[in-house]
Structures are given as C-alpha cells and as structure tokens.
Amino acid sequence: MNYVVAAWLSCGAILVAYSARTLRRERSLRRSLAPKDGPRWR
C-alpha cells in the first residue's frame, strides 16, 4: 500500500513545487513592474 501513497505524494509534490515556483516568479515580476506605474494599473 505504501507504494500507492508514495506515488500520490511524489506526484503531488512535483505539481505543487512547480506551481509555487511559477506563482513566485509571477509575483516578483509584477512587483518589479507594478510600482513604477502606480495605481493607474487598476
């Protein structure tokens, strides 16, 4: 049974890691782009 759990966890870990990396990069890019333009971005 632990194989099944191992598969589930590993698959989950890979997907979560990648999504976190993408979100972090996206947020950092936004922060570097956003301030210069200030509020009118809304």
Partner: protein, 252 residues
C-alpha cells in the same frame, strides 16, 4: 488586453484553481478510500487514478506546444501569442512528464518489482522528457525574442515528428505495456473504479489548465518586463552620443 491586477490572480485563475483543488480532493478521497481494491492487483489498482491522467496531461502539454509552434510558423497566423502558448505547453508538459515517469516507475516497482522496464510507453515518455529539456534549454540560450521563437518553434515541430517516429520504434522494440484500460471497447473496469478514473482525468485536467494560464501570463509579464527594460536601455544608449553634438532625433 487589460492590465492584470498586481495581486496575480484574476477571476479565471481563482475559479480554475479552486475547482481543481476540489476535484483533486474528491479524486484522493475516492481513489484512496472509497473505491474497492482490485481483485487481481489489490491495492495497486489505485495507481490507475493518477498515472494515466498525468500521462495524458503530459501528452496534452506537448501537443499544445507543437500546435503553438506550427501556428507561429504559419506566416498569416504568426503572433507572440502562439509562442507563449508553445513555451507554456512545453514547460507544463515537462512537469507532467516528470510526474508520469515517477508514478510510472513506482507502479512498475509495485507490480513488476523493478523500477524501470524497457516498455514502449515508458521509453517514449523518457525520450519525450529528454527532448523537452533540450527544448527548454534552447529557449534559455537565445535572448532575441524573434529568433528565440523562430528557432524553438522549428525545433518543436522537428521534435514532434521525431516523437511520431519514436512511437513506432518503441512499439516495435518491445510491446510489454498493458494497453489502455479505459479506452478499450469493453473497459475491464467499471463501477467505482471507472468513476474515480474519470474524476482523476477531470482533476488533473483542471490542474493542467490552471498551470497553463499562469505560465502563459508569466510569459506576458516577462515580455513586458523586457520591453520596460528596453526603453531605458535605449535612453542610456542615446545619452552616450557626443554631448555637444546632441541631435534631437525627430520624433516619428
């Protein structure tokens, strides 16, 4: 295209994100607890609720990449959108491909007792993964946006064709892998197992879509970041001109 908010999650991604999580939860609940163990495989049948879905998303990713590249190469259709789609597809595809290999080898270890078997589908996925690493490495090594799009879309199309050749090569080479349990004329699974498997496809499909949207948006931001940098680089370059012979460049 309106400016995305600074917070980074628009209505679309929020809906997609939450529904994906819900479907994953359902899939986990059904897959691990509710559905009965298989009479033959025992508990290992539960792999059925991850591996095929993840593998399908892997091929979907590379399919999107190939289509995006072909669209970008088509003179009339050419637009940065296709290139962004291609890179999103390739990267998300590569992640799912890696997940497929991991879960596949775990399943192999469980049912055949060995981490890696020379089986047609597993080998093809491994080749696909190596190709995608090459593609992504190529994209990182060219900085001119136009030539990067040009070189990578050509390489993507050539790779897609190579995958077709690989398919025949590996299938002839060894035919060990059990064929698709789901798409058989009379599916050998039914009841709970079938239902859970469908849920798994839905769940990972949503995760795939959510990732694609975010990755696509990331590409848009990177382009804007470069354009931002470009205007300041242009001014810096112009300021190098001999100070006393400064010429007002006629604004076109």
């Amino acid at each position: 295209m309106r400016y995305p908010q600074a917070s980074g999650s628009s209505r679309l991604t929020r809906v997609l994100g939450w529904s994906a999580l819900a479907a994953l939860a359902l899939n986990t609940w059904w897959g691990l607890w509710l559905s009965p163990p298989d009479v033959v495989q025992g508990q290992f049948v539960r792999m059925l609720y991850i591996h095929p879905a993840v593998a399908t998303m892997c091929y979907a990713g590379f399919g999107v990449c190939a289509l995006g590249s072909v669209a970008w190469l088509w003179p009339r259709l050419r637009s940065p959108r296709w290139d962004r789609l291609a890179v999103a597809g390739a990267e998300v595809g590569a992640v799912f491909c890696f997940a497929t290999l991991v879960t596949g080898s775990i399943w192999g270890r469980a049912s055949w007792g060995v981490w890696w078997t020379w089986d047609a589908r597993l080998t093809l996925t491994a080749i696909l993964f190596a190709l995608s690493l090459g593609y992504l490495a190529l994209r990182r090594s060219i900085d001119n946006p136009h030539s990067r799009a040009l070189a990578s879309s050509m390489v993507a199309v050539l790779m897609a064709l190579t995958v077709v050749v690989d398919h025949y090569a590996t299938v002839w080479f060894v035919t060990l892998h059990q064929n698709e349990t789901l798409f058989q004329p009379d599916p050998t699974i039914h009841g709970w197992q079938l239902a859970t498997m469908l849920v798994s496809f839905l769940a990972f499909g949503l995760v795939f879509a959510w990732m694609m949207v975010h990755r696509y948006r990331l590409e848009v931001l990177e382009e804007r970041y470069e354009r931002e940098g470009f205007t300041s680089a242009l001014e810096a370059r112009r300021s190098e001109a001999l100070p006393e012979r400064r010429v007002e460049v006629p604004a076109r």
